[in-house]
């Protein structure tokens, strides 16, 4: 790939250099700044001949050969560019460069209708400075949380290739279809997971109705616009970057050693009147490892996990061009290593969880005529994921958490492979030992190939009327996914718990050997987009008018692995007409009206098209003459309001309005499927085979509609030294797609229940950000922060009526955590007798040290009617970030804290509930060392863990405040230090800029929850942990 880029580039350069063989004049001089200090590395190029250029040397001197009557362009980062005409004689041209003054008034924001001056925007938009979206891991989504106001994100896994964050704009406000935002890369719906971060030019989040209404039925969850870098006029600029990252883990659950496990197992049994599992003699044998086959002591975590894993990343990009054509070319390579040890004896293949990605991009802009611009972009990613052959990626973690230290050795002394399960276990519940799962089960390879291409025609139509422009865009994307699993497993055994009378182990073969066998799957899709836009924008004195009319159509089709499913073979199509009219008076009073008129073929005729209007108004107080004349430090103060409707058509069902017919099947008692239609009365078996509705048509299903309001202001002081944006938003989502699950039997539906737009949710919240820039001499300081808070409430859902309103979903958050309220632990039997009866277990089995619950409805019985909403949701409802950066001479420093709040989740599973699945499930060190309830030792009614029990304890092991954990956290997400080599040095190397840097990610995490990383939101921790990384890198710019 790189060879290819290089040779293309060489040809380009060569062609350009041939054309430069003409008679020339020599221009030389010194370039200084306004204080007379020489500027090293300032660029001097000939206009329209971007390949020819020089940079000023250490004394600010330059010398260049130029054809006569050409313009020389002088540029330097942070300074205004100058152009000078060269006549037909050698000359000395000394240049004084002036610092570029940027004001907030010049800033441009990318919106759905194209670039717009920030001062004239009326909607709620977050524009992110791409430089702050730094992440040493593969996906940019991991940089969103705490960096982008209005975006809530959480990362659930650290597994290479799977370590992307889920994100939602302003939280979620639906429980029907998808709640994810519409992501548009270069204007078309594309994933940004596999984007090369270096390629991103701008990153914009559209949050309210007025900015998203043009996306009509697809904009309700918010829109993210990502534009990639394009070529720019000027000298060829090359950026190269290499990074090495060492990834460790933020928090790895820790488990107890063998002896502790054994004594706790004994405690769990003896304190509940059961026989101890291990005799003192056996404890001694575990301790002294006298029989490591039957009484081993294995630290599975240490055995399997490396201290850390390396990640390599290299990227190169080039940009340049002239006024006729400009290009941007980039390539990058990323290799993320997995954290598992591998079997050194196995050389043929790798079982580690590795991820590799190659990215390339070529963006070309050509001015075909003075008024016609053609833009072509091709980008792609090739991803390769490797892992062990175990069925699922989390299987290894299931095993690590499941295997206690003393039941199974890693290998039996005769080489037999152990497995912790009985012969009678079903094959799907294989409990492979972690070492086997990670290294002895073959390997899986996944390739993903994405190609995005787009062509844009930008035609100015000033000859019709001034300010009119046509833009036509066409995009074509393909995506392929190939999955090849080569699975095997060794023969696996379990020794009887006692040796035979000859002292030999007695083995039972549990799983026969399986030779390496292959399974594969593939999927793919194709997307086509077509857009045509008419843009009209013109200033009439103080009046400014801008309008856009846009036609869009797209289709999306699964291209492989769809079998005979006709519905899957039909492309999903959208069609829409959108428009926007804005009017501004002296940038002071701004008004904007937007609409989308969209259609989706997923719905029945008559329900396919919908109209989504929105308007917004803004008042730029700072532009009022009484402010302008009196308060000059107030650069911008804009109050905005918007109101509108947007929709989302992402229903999980394809063609919900179509009925399907078939032989209704049901499961018989014998576990077989039989064709069955009940012709008789309810609950009477008169079943015979026959055609029936397997799905009843839901004719009236259509999109969800969100009505959104947004009130906000933008405040900028002293130019753009201080900026503050705060928005209040409120949304009512209606018509949420739900299956009607509570139909009475007498309706007679046997197949899938019909669906309807019945749910409704109200969401409210704030988001905002601020920044403060201050320069003092050589020191530059920036403080920035942002926050997003959102709270939703279900106002209607398809659910059963309940006597107790707290049992319903309505009135509470989407995915609200619900459980019993624990009042601590029972103190003694007297306490149990005097408390309401707890109906989950046989009341006689409830003992002191078990969890005591609150009787909510006061009926004297604790049962499922006492389950109430507690805490909030696993997904945080508050995300915030605070950053500080400083520069001093060549040094730069940046730290960024990120936090999440209003998050609660239950912990459960076989490690959290000790011994709940007997031998399966290790014991967390945190639990063993905690203030736990121990009979006769620590009978604290407020202990952190209840009385141990061996096997399932239905009184204790259920969601309650006892097991509810606070998921809020604050972490030092990024710590970056960089040093840019002095120009004196870099100029000698013929480079513009050389920077070495160090980035630490997730170096510190503060949270009440200690068992594993709270961001994962995992109830049992059985996930590849999140990475804590240190990165060293080098950036070179030429």
């Amino acid at each position: 790939m790189k060879k290819y880029i290089l040779s293309v580039l060489c040809i380009v350069v060569y062609v350009i250099s041939i054309s430069a063989q003409k008679k020339t004049v020599e221009v030389s001089g010194t370039i200084v700044d306004s204080e007379g200090v020489p500027l090293i590395g300032a660029t001097v190029v000939i206009k329209e001949k971007p390949g020819l250029g020089v940079v000023s040397d250490m004394d600010g001197k330059y010398k260049i050969e130029v054809e006569p009557f050409q313009y020389l362009v002088f540029s330097y980062v942070g300074y205004e560019t100058q152009e000078h005409l060269i006549k037909d004689e050698d000359m000395v041209l000394d240049i004084t460069m002036h610092e570029a003054k940027t004001t907030i008034l010049d800033e441009v924001t990318i919106t759905g209708m194209g670039p717009q001056k920030k001062i004239t925007t009326t909607g709620s938009i977050t524009t992110v400075e791409v430089g702050t979206l730094k992440t040493p891991v593969s996906s940019i989504t991991n940089a969103l949380a705490g960096n982008v106001a209005g975006v809530m994100a959480m990362q659930r896994s650290g597994q290479p290739g799977d370590n992307v964050s889920e994100f939602w704009i302003r939280g979620i406000s639906t429980f029907g279809g998808s709640s994810s935002a519409l992501v548009l890369v270069d204007g078309f719906e594309r994933s940004m997971d596999e984007l090369n971060i270096e390629d991103i030019e701008s990153f914009t989040v559209l949050k309210d109705a007025s900015t998203t209404a043009i996306y009509g039925s697809r904009g309700a969850n918010g829109v993210i616009l990502v534009n990639t870098k394009r070529g720019s006029e000027g000298k060829l600029e090359i950026n190269a970057k290499g990074e090495y990252t060492w990834t460790t883990r933020t928090r790895t659950p820790k488990f107890v050693d063998g002896l502790t496990y054994a004594s706790m197992a004994n405690e769990a049994r003896t304190t509940r009147n059961q026989k101890a599992v291990y005799t003192d003699q056996e404890l001694m044998m575990i301790d002294e490892q006298l029989d490591p086959d039957i009484y081993p002591n294995v630290n599975w975590m240490d055995l399997l996990l490396k201290d850390g894993a390396p990640t390599y990343r290299a990227s190169v990009n080039m940009r340049g061009g002239g006024s006729k054509a400009r290009y941007y070319l980039s390539g990058s390579f990323l290799d993320e290593g997995g954290m598992y040890h591998v079997d050194k004896a196995m050389k043929e293949y790798d079982t580690n969880a590795n991820y590799q990605r190659y990215n390339y991009r070529l963006n070309l802009d050509m001015n075909v005529t003075a008024s016609t611009l053609i833009q072509v972009g091709i980008g792609g990613a090739l991803e390769k994921t490797n892992r062990s052959g175990a069925v699922n990626t989390d299987d290894i973690w299931y095993s690590i958490f499941g295997y206690n230290p003393i039941t199974m050795p890693v290998m039996y002394s005769n080489g037999y492979v152990p497995i912790m399960q009985g012969e009678d276990a079903e094959s799907w519940e294989r409990k492979y030992n972690p070492w086997v799962a990670a290294t002895q089960t073959g390997y899986t390879e996944v390739w993903q190939n994405t190609i995005n291409s787009n062509v844009t025609l930008d035609q100015k139509l000033d000859f019709i009327t001034e300010g009119l422009k046509f833009i036509g865009r066409f995009g074509y994307d393909t995506y392929n996914y190939n999955h090849i699993q080569r699975r095997k497993n060794p023969e696996m055994w379990r020794a009887e718990r006692q040796r035979n009378s000859d002292g030999e182990l007695v083995f039972n073969r549990i799983v026969p050997e399986r030779l390496l066998s292959q399974g594969s799957s593939a999927s793919g899709d194709r997307k086509e987009f077509l857009e045509a836009e008419l843009i009209y924008g013109r200033n009439f004195g103080d009046h400014n008018v801008a309008s856009v009319l846009k036609y869009t159509q797209d289709n999306y089709v699964n291209t492989s692995n769809i079998g005979g499913d006709i519905m899957q073979g039909i492309a999903r199509r959208h069609q829409g007409l959108a428009g926007s009219v804005s009017y501004g008076y002296m940038n002071r009073y701004l008004f904007n009206f937007n609409f989308g008129y969209n259609g989706s073929e997923n719905f029945a005729k008559g329900h396919q098209f919908g109209f989504f209007p929105a308007y917004s108004i803004a008042w730029n107080v700072a532009e009022e003459s009484f402010v302008k004349d009196n308060i000059d430090w107030l650069s911008m103060f804009k109050i905005r309001y918007s109101d509108g409707k947007v929709g989302t058509d992402n229903t999980p069902t394809r063609f919900p309005y179509l009925a399907t017919f078939g032989n209704y099947t049901r499961w018989t008692g014998a576990g077989e499927q039989e064709v069955y239609y009940n012709w008789g009365d309810l609950n009477s078996g008169f079943g015979y085979p026959g055609l029936t509705y397997t799905r009843v048509s839901s004719n009236n299903v259509t999109w969800e509609i969100a009505r959104k309001h947004d009130l906000g202001f933008d405040l900028y002081l002293w130019g753009d030294k201080f900026g503050l944006t705060v928005d209040y938003f409120d949304e009512k989502r209606e018509g949420i797609y739900m299956t009607r699950s509570y139909l009475p039997d007498m309706v007679g539906i046997q197949g899938e229940n019909p669906a309807a737009n019945v749910g409704s949710v109200k969401t409210k919240g704030f988001d905002g950000n601020f920044k403060l820039d201050q320069r003092a001499g050589d020191v530059g300081l920036q403080i920035r922060g942002n926050f997003t808070y959102s709270k939703n409430k279900i106002t209607e859902a398809d659910e059963m009526v309940s006597r107790y309103p707290y049992l319903r979903r309505t009135g509470f958050r989407i995915d609200q955590a619900k459980g019993l309220i624990a009042l601590g632990l029972f103190e003694d039997y007297e306490d149990i007798r005097n408390s309401p009866r707890q109906d989950f277990a046989d009341p006689r089995d409830v003992m002191p040290g078990d969890i005591k619950y609150k009787d909510i409805n006061g009926d004297g019985i604790i049962n499922n009617d006492d389950i109430v909403p507690i805490g909030s949701t696993t997904r945080p409802n508050l995300i915030y970030g605070l950053g500080l950066s400083a520069t001093w001479k060549g040094f730069d420093f940046n730290m960024h804290f990120q936090g999440a709040g209003k998050s609660h989740f239950f912990i459960d599973g076989f490690t959290v509930y000790p011994f709940s699945q007997g031998e399966w499930g290790n014991i967390l060190e945190d639990m063993a060392n905690s203030n736990r309830w121990i009979l006769g030792v620590n009978e604290d009614p407020n202990a952190e863990y209840p009385r141990l029990s061996y096997g399932w304890n239905s009184n204790n092991y259920r969601p309650s405040t006892y097991w509810l954990r606070d998921g809020s956290y604050l972490r030092l997400k990024t710590l970056e230090m960089g040093y840019t080599l002095p120009k004196v040095m870099t100029a000698r190397l013929h480079m513009n800029n050389v920077r070495i840097h160090f980035i630490g990610q997730n170096l510190l995490t503060f949270s009440n929850f200690k068992l594993w990383d709270p961001e994962m939101g995992s109830s049992n921790g059985m996930k590849y942990p999140l990475g804590k990384t240190v990165t060293f890198g080098l950036t070179i710019n030429m």
Partner: protein, 484 residues
């Protein structure tokens, strides 16, 4: 220009590569599973010392720990004998050796031999203290070779070391004319073969295969009590309907003088599971249908020209199950195992008929479970063959009923004991309870604490030797339970 550019480009690229290369080489590959723990023999430069061993007494298979120093950890270089019998060495930590007390080690002298890496004796030590072997009830494995790879076996005759059983199901103890102790064994539920285990010559042979006998699904067998020259086979002939009863025999017989090789039809009836032959020669059998108990050959049915049995009663009204009857050695009553319990049917010696049935132990509603408790609190899970064993204590106490009933609790993987008073206890099996809570398996040793069975179904008793023989069905082996 071109050259210059190339130079620049390559310079920077090389720089990046150097950074990456440095880092790659610094990454090591230590860790993971690195093979079994290495073992070392004793260090010849240091002395081997012995301090003591413990425990000083215990039953067969007791783990004995020998303390000292510099033993090495290579168990192949350590030899221990107790009472002159080699004791299996299980492990060594260098300062502690773990060995298992072998059978017949009652002499009790403990001798430890430590060898160096070349196998030469480095040190031999005899402890002054003796190991005292205690008496205990022990389960052992008598016969049954199983392929450990596939956990399968077949019907293979030969000496005890070689012989295989498919799924031994039902046992009957016998002493032949030559005084050899014999166990007849139905191999496979439904009889694939009738096996003959000669305990005296230690050989297993096959009496007949299913096809040779012309039987359908033999569920149990019994000797004719008065003569013991006839062996009856009770057949689940698959004829559940009364009207089909003449189609196939429900009982067959074979004669001792023919070596039980030839099988003849005896009775025709509905599908049957077991029978009892009383001392007076009266024969009762039971059918699956309604758990009906019949007295054999008493009613002549004109229509079918058949001698039918006389229906006496249902063991459990309106309920059908696989049930098995066992005669009390004094003809006091007949026990019936089934419906997850043991039912008792009194025998009227005057009418020569069994008189109704009453639940002796187990659940009234036939629910399964595992509870050792008296009477109807006790729980079983598919109780199968049982055997009456005389209890000398009862004789001493002068009780009328001096027999305990030991039965195979099939799905509880245990041998249970039922006293005449209805006390239920676990006699053997379900030992070595571990973390997995598993109670079945193939473990020999102390009957209650250590040993495990796997779905035992057949049991018989050698009164002279005091040995129980158990058909351990899913282990495919014949086990013994005896005091050692």
């Amino acid at each position: 220009m071109l050259k210059k550019f190339q130079k620049k480009f390559s310079a920077s690229f090389i720089a990046i590569l150097i950074v990456i290369a440095c880092v790659v080489t610094s990454c090591s590959q230590e860790g993971g599973y690195e093979g079994p723990m290495p073992v070392v023999p004793t260090d010849p430069s240091k002395p081997v010392t012995f301090t003591d061993f413990f425990p000083k007494e215990g039953a067969v298979r007791t783990l004995v720990f020998i303390e000292g120093s510099n033993f090495g950890t290579d168990v192949s270089k350590i030899k221990v004998s107790i009472g002159g019998i080699p004791a299996p060495v299980i492990g060594s930590s260098g300062t502690k050796i773990c060995v298992m007390a072998p059978r017949r080690c009652s002499r009790g002298d403990v001798v430890v031999t430590i060898m160096d890496e070349n196998g030469k004796v480095a040190k031999e030590h005899q402890f002054e203290n003796l190991f005292t072997l205690q008496e205990s009830l022990v389960v052992n494995t008598l016969i049954g070779k199983v392929d450990p790879q596939t956990n399968t076996s077949s019907i293979i005759d030969g000496p005890f070391e070689e012989a295989e059983f498919q799924h031994p199901w039902w046992l009957e103890f016998d002493i032949d004319e030559e005084g050899n102790k014999i166990i007849y064994c139905i191999d496979e539920e439904n009889l694939a073969a009738l096996r003959k285990i000669n305990l005296t010559t230690k050989e297993v042979s096959t009496v007949f295969m299913k096809g040779q006998a012309g039987v359908h699904q033999v569920k149990s067998m019994l000797f004719d009590t008065p003569t013991r020259d006839t062996l009856f086979f009770v057949d689940d002939n698959g004829r559940g309907n009364w009207n089909d009863r003449h189609q196939m025999p429900n009982m067959h017989y074979a004669l001792r003088k023919e070596g039980f090789r030839k099988v003849y039809p005896y009775l025709y009836g509905q599908c049957s599971y077991s029978a009892v032959s009383m001392s007076d020669g009266t024969l009762f059998y039971n059918t699956w249908q309604s758990s009906q108990v019949y007295k054999a050959r008493v009613i002549f049915d004109e229509a079918s020209q058949m001698w039918d049995g006389k229906a006496l009663f249902s063991v459990r009204a309106n309920a059908s199950d696989h049930i098995f009857m066992f005669r009390h050695p004094d003809d006091l009553y007949v026990y019936v195992t089934g419906f997850n319990g043991v039912y008792k049917c009194a025998y009227d010696k005057t009418t020569k008929e069994l008189v109704s049935s009453a639940l002796h132990v187990g659940d009234l509603n036939g629910r399964s479970g595992y509870v050792d408790a008296p009477g109807s609190s006790a729980r079983f899970n598919r109780p199968r063959q049982g055997v009456f064993v005389k209890n000398p204590e009862y004789v001493a106490q002068g009780k009328t009923d001096v027999y305990d009933f030991y039965l195979c609790d099939h799905n509880n993987n245990a041998i249970r004991k039922v006293t005449p008073d209805g006390e239920v206890s676990t006699f053997a099996g379900r030992g070595s309870v571990g973390t997995d809570g598993k109670v079945w398996g193939w473990i020999d040793g102390e009957a209650r604490e250590t040993a495990r069975f796997r779905e035992p179904t057949g049991i018989c008793y050698d009164e002279e030797e005091g040995i129980f023989y158990v058909a351990d069905r899913e282990n495919k082996r014949i086990r013994t339970i005896s005091v050692e």
